[in-house]
């Protein structure tokens, strides 16, 4: 669906590009042997290299190279055999070197593309401009003291992959779907944990507006937006702001802005005025990084099945809708759970039970799929009981609720509570006869042409059987009986 913002002078289109910083999942830092773990005591994971001590030499972590290449392959991107580390120069207290080692003109990964899945079931391809390796900066705390800032360098030197998209997104929904898909890909690959609330995935959002069909407008960059929801809110606000500025005769200045999560607004970061004058130059401490084709091919062989491939397979093999398949592949755990539960079962039915009942119940209890009291094999068994007519869908919900509490197998619960569906026609015939006998007036009305009453009879029979009568058999027998 086209996202249109109505202004006083007409309809506006929003153009969005994203820069996502994803921390490479490693034990140690990009250029030093200090730990890259999150949450340690301040400055306890800092080597003299990360502290910017003179005379220290950076040595690259092999694992970062492997994982950057693997991620590049996951983004269907070109891997560059030669890439170059450069110094990006700026001053800030949490950057003790005075420069960040990054890649500029020659990144390790070039153009690629990924698919994003939208709510209406459509799929859109978003271009990837590049992926490069760079160091993270330290962390400044501004709220500890009225006149001072506190600096922790534990994050300084952590390995980041900066993944830059093409300006291919046109709505907050598309941007959200892009971040979600990117997160799924790095999680499937195991190259980044994707935890946005711990900061191991962060987004810079580039937003501009234009009249449909016009040239690209001037963009603003919103820094460090740390959840999918905030990305969408920031875009909504920023696009509206830009339209208002332009329509009231103003001009958009290219600048860096901050998103205020409490107010849902963006504001200018004046401190970054000089920020775009980085004076990049090749880092004399580091030779160009070369990755041979053999090395790339070896990594390609270790690639797991990615969300998009899985999605296409689910659609093809199970006749699933794009929406259902997208929901299932969104999380690696979810897809694995589904495949295990669906083994030898009605896959579509399993998908329904997983996405509506189980995920719903887990959400309510704020549990993850890993913590689910209902195991994949048990959910599969439940669906099996429905498929072979042991229980009806209605009874299955009751069984499921019990499973979620006790973790018992569905077969055991059905046995214990005597919930087995009655398929014995004799027993059902008896109930049908009773219901008909108890409602002579309704029977007369039905025979007089009030067809709608049929539902009433079915409901009554099911109720009388404690929900255990097989609805199909009830239908058949009732029809026969009422036509007598």
């Amino acid at each position: 669906m086209t996202y249109i913002l109505k202004g006083e002078t007409g309809d506006w289109e929003t153009v969005i590009g994203l820069e996502v910083h994803a921390q490479v999942l490693t034990k140690s830092k990009l250029f030093s042997g200090a730990s890259a773990d999150f949450g340690a005591a301040p400055n306890s994971q800092v080597s003299p290299i990360d502290a910017g001590m003179p005379g220290m030499l950076p040595v690259i972590n092999k694992e970062c190279v492997t994982k950057a290449v693997l991620t590049g392959l996951g983004l269907n991107a070109v891997i560059n055999n030669v890439s170059v580390f450069e110094r990006k120069n700026y001053f800030y207290p949490d950057l003790p070197q005075g420069y960040q080692i990054s890649q500029y003109q020659h990144p390790i990964v070039g153009n690629g593309e990924i698919e994003i899945d939208l709510a209406d079931g459509t799929v859109k391809v978003i271009g990837i401009e590049r992926l490069h390796l760079e160091q993270d900066a330290g962390k400044s705390l501004h709220d500890q003291h009225p006149q001072k800032s506190y600096v922790d360098l534990n994050r300084s030197g952590n390995p980041l992959m900066e993944i830059v998209s093409k300006p291919d997104m046109r709505s907050p929904e598309e941007a959200g779907a892009y971040v979600t898909k990117l997160r799924a890909i790095v999680r499937y690959l195991g190259t980044c944990d994707g935890n946005m609330d711990e900061g191991s995935m962060r987004c810079d959002v580039n937003v501009s507006v234009r009249k449909f069909g016009a040239e690209l407008g001037t963009r603003c960059e919103i820094k460090n937006v740390n959840s999918v929801r905030f990305v969408q809110q920031a875009i909504e606000y920023e696009a509206r702001r830009q339209i208002e500025v332009i329509e009231s005769g103003g001009k958009i200045v290219q600048e860096t802005r901050l998103f205020d999560t409490k107010q849902g607004t963006t504001r200018s970061m004046r401190s970054k005025e000089d920020a775009h004058d980085y004076r990049y130059f090749p880092d004399p401490d580091l030779l160009p990084l070369t990755v041979a084709n053999d090395f790339i091919d070896d990594i390609r062989k270790t690639m797991p099945e990615l969300p998009d491939a899985k999605k296409h397979r689910f659609i093809k093999d199970f006749g699933m809708s794009v929406q259902d398949a997208s929901v299932l592949v969104q999380e690696k755990d979810r897809a694995e759970y589904f495949e295990k539960a669906a083994e030898g079962r009605d896959a579509k039915l399993v998908a329904n039970w997983l996405t509506t009942e189980l995920l719903g119940a887990l959400n309510k209890g704020e549990k993850t799929l890993r913590e689910s009291p209902v195991k994949a094999s048990q959910l599969g068994a439940l669906v099996g009981l429905i498929s072979d007519n042991t229980i009806s869908g209605r009874i299955a919900k009751e069984v499921f609720a019990e499973m979620f509490v006790s973790g018992k197998d569905p077969g055991v619960i059905v046995e214990e509570k005597g919930l087995k569906q009655v398929t014995d026609t004799g027993a059902i015939e008896k109930i049908v006869a009773e219901v008909v006998a108890e409602n002579p007036d309704k029977v007369a009305e039905y025979k007089g042409g009030k067809d709608k009453l049929f539902g009433f009879f079915v409901g009554s029979v099911l109720k009388k059987s404690g929900g255990k009568a097989n609805p199909g058999i009830v239908n058949d027998l009732l029809k026969k009986k009422l036509e007598e």
Binding site: K27, S32, A34, S35, N43, S44, E63, S149, S271, D277
Partner: protein
């Protein structure tokens, strides 16, 4: 090639180096002459020549992903003019 005083002022600010007006005059001349000399090199035709990154044929050295450093909080903070609770303390940087 020459540069003007405004460029010198800007470079000085970006590098956080304080220079006086007199120094700027001198620096403008000095930097211009350096750049003029470097510009001589631009006359050489380098079409199709790969940039020289090292005078010896060698590859970028890579290390294994193991933790071998860090856990030296005290040493890291020892030169800090001010510290508190394990943090470096600096004048407030306002966003």
């Amino acid at each position: 090639m020459s540069i003007d005083k405004n460029t010198v002022t800007k470079i000085a600010r970006l590098a956080r180096i304080k220079v006086t007006e007199d120094e700027k005059e001198v620096l403008t001349k000095e930097l211009s002459s350096i750049l003029t000399m470097i510009a001589e090199l631009d006359k050489v035709n380098t079409d199709g020549v790969e940039p020289l990154t090292s005078v010896v044929q060698m590859q970028l050295f890579e290390r294994e992903d193991v933790v071998t450093d860090g856990a030296i909080q005290e040493k890291i903070l020892i030169n800090a003019p001010e510290q508190a609770a394990g943090f470096f303390v600096v004048p407030k940087v306002v966003e």
